[in-house]
């Protein structure tokens, strides 16, 4: 077992760095920059049962701390992912992926998750109940603990692989929701998806995003995301993947210390395509300098 090795519900990763859904495509966009096999894992673009064209342009805006996006779950649908994309990905990527599943009804979530669960390349089903950019689905399930628990239980019955639930920070009582999602059969949590926000054009006063609102991400949300992990950790018994504004090795260390067993990096991949190899070097340097034998020793130390 290497210094950086972590284990998520039986899935061993060579390091705790996972690329967040929606920022890593299907893994192949980073091949121009580095061998993607160096990454712990990555979460595929949010996938739905049927193809989706997503929101109108513009879908992207920036702020001092990062980005806002309102892509709106554009994806080619689960059959295309399974039949066209996974075979290509398997030629270049030897690891397992997190399959990010989204939907607009319980039946849709279940059918999509079931199809992805059958695929060898999928290691974890990541149930996305937190997309802020679609209406009538996504985040709607993540705002209400009873809804989230019901959906988790339904998907749990359809899949054999570990089921992680990706939550929204907009949820009014995240601790309660996480507890109930655990009781409903979730094997892990991903905390958190983007924060809802907006930008206005300084000349016209109109929204910069066609969708008006978007998901706020990037280093500007890191302290808030870190706090959600810190807040939930003492109340659950399942692993947490920390997510939100992680941009460097030091952020990974903080997330682990707050209680995360692994960490997702999103926006920083888009801003710096070499982010993952840099973070991995920083983690190796940190462990060597601090005489840390296993990076898992850092998990939850903020609470000790």
């Amino acid at each position: 077992m290497g210094t950086l090795t972590v284990n998520l519900s039986g899935l061993e990763l060579s390091n705790p760095v996972i690329a967040a859904s929606g920022t890593y495509g299907y893994g192949m966009e980073y091949l121009d920059f580095y061998d993607v096999n160096c990454i712990g894992s990555f979460s595929i673009k949010g996938t739905t049962l049927h193809p989706r064209t997503g929101n109108r342009q513009p879908r992207i805006a920036e702020y001092d701390g990062g980005l806002l996006n309102a892509v709106g779950l554009e994806n080619p649908g689960v059959e295309h992912v399974v039949q066209e994309i996974f075979p290509r990905l398997q030629k270049v990527y030897r690891g397992k992926v997190l399959a990010n599943v989204s939907g607009f009804s319980m039946e849709e979530y279940c059918a999509c998750a079931q199809r992805l669960d059958e695929q060898d390349i999928v290691g974890i089903i990541e149930l996305n109940i937190s997309c802020p950019n679609v209406h009538g689905g996504g985040m709607a399930f993540g705002m209400d603990a009873a809804c989230a628990a019901e959906l988790t239980a339904a998907v749990r019955r359809c899949v054999k692989k570990p089921l992680y639930v990706k939550c929204t920070p907009q949820c009014p009582d995240l601790v309660d929701l996480c507890r109930r999602v655990e009781d409903a059969g979730a094997d892990g949590l991903v905390l958190v998806n983007t924060f809802l926000g907006m930008r206005l054009d300084r000349h016209t006063g109109k929204p910069l995003l066609a969708n008006v609102t978007g998901g706020v991400s990037g280093s500007g949300i890191f302290p808030q995301a870190l706090y959600r992990v810190y807040q939930v950790y003492p109340h659950v018994h399942i692993p947490i993947i920390g997510c939100g504004g992680v941009s460097c090795g030091s952020d990974v260390i903080e997330m682990l210390s707050a209680g995360a067993s692994a960490v997702e990096i999103g926006t920083q991949n888009l801003l710096d395509p070499m982010c993952v190899p840099k973070v991995l070097r920083e983690l190796e340097d940190y462990c060597r300098e601090e005489h840390i034998q296993h990076i898992t020793d850092l998990i939850g130390r903020a609470h000790q």
Binding site: G22, T23, Y24, G25, E29, Y30, D32, F33, K45, T53, G54, Q57, P58, R59, I60, A61, E62, Y63, D64, G66, L67, N69, V71, E74, P76, G218, N269, L270, L271, P273, M274
Partner: protein, 244 residues
Amino acid sequence: MELHTCAILDNHPVAPETYQLTVHCAAASQTRCGQFADIAIPGKKLRRPLSITDWTDNTLTFTYRVVGEGTDWLSRQHQGELELLTGCGNGFDLTAFSRDILLMGGGIGCAPLLGTARQALAQGLAVKLLLGFGNPEQALFQKELSGLDVEAVYCYDSLGENVAQALVRLGWQDLPFCACGPLPMLRAVCQASQAPGQVSLEARMGCGFGACMGCSVQLKERMARVCKDGPVFHRKEIVWEHLL
């Protein structure tokens, strides 16, 4: 695509609010005219995609208009280094042209057409250009094009003629074309021309290398990322109602 740290060799105004920037850069990943590079701006999260006007073995030249804080910062840089992501996008496919090529541009959309004209000439094509600007003061590349064996026509909104109108007046509607400019101009030239054509689209981009889907547009039969699958698409693929 490659990440490069490039020394600024030159950055000077060529028209009102319009500059030409040349950097030292091994242009290995630059394979086609109509590609772009993504330039990092200190203090800004997103790199700015700039169309490549021309290139040599070790330089890249951009022509850009100041439209916001990022390009304003860039216009004030005369030395030092810039971080670039090069070789972005598909560029124009000149192998699709056998004898004639018409290059049409609107405003700063003319930026990639100088290099495209040189490449087309090198390929033995008969090159015509139709370039439209708001007024004569804004015109680009007049001197450079006068030294090339091309037929270049300029038109100006201020003088009452846009690119699509000039296309009809000149009777060039049957010439296969490459076009770059604002969406209304691209739609107008596609409506006026009957010939096969390639159009270069513009979109607000996120990553610039195809990972975020921030710039995806809906084409006739597929979704396409302007930064990676484009920015150049065949006119047959475009559904203007989806874009405008």
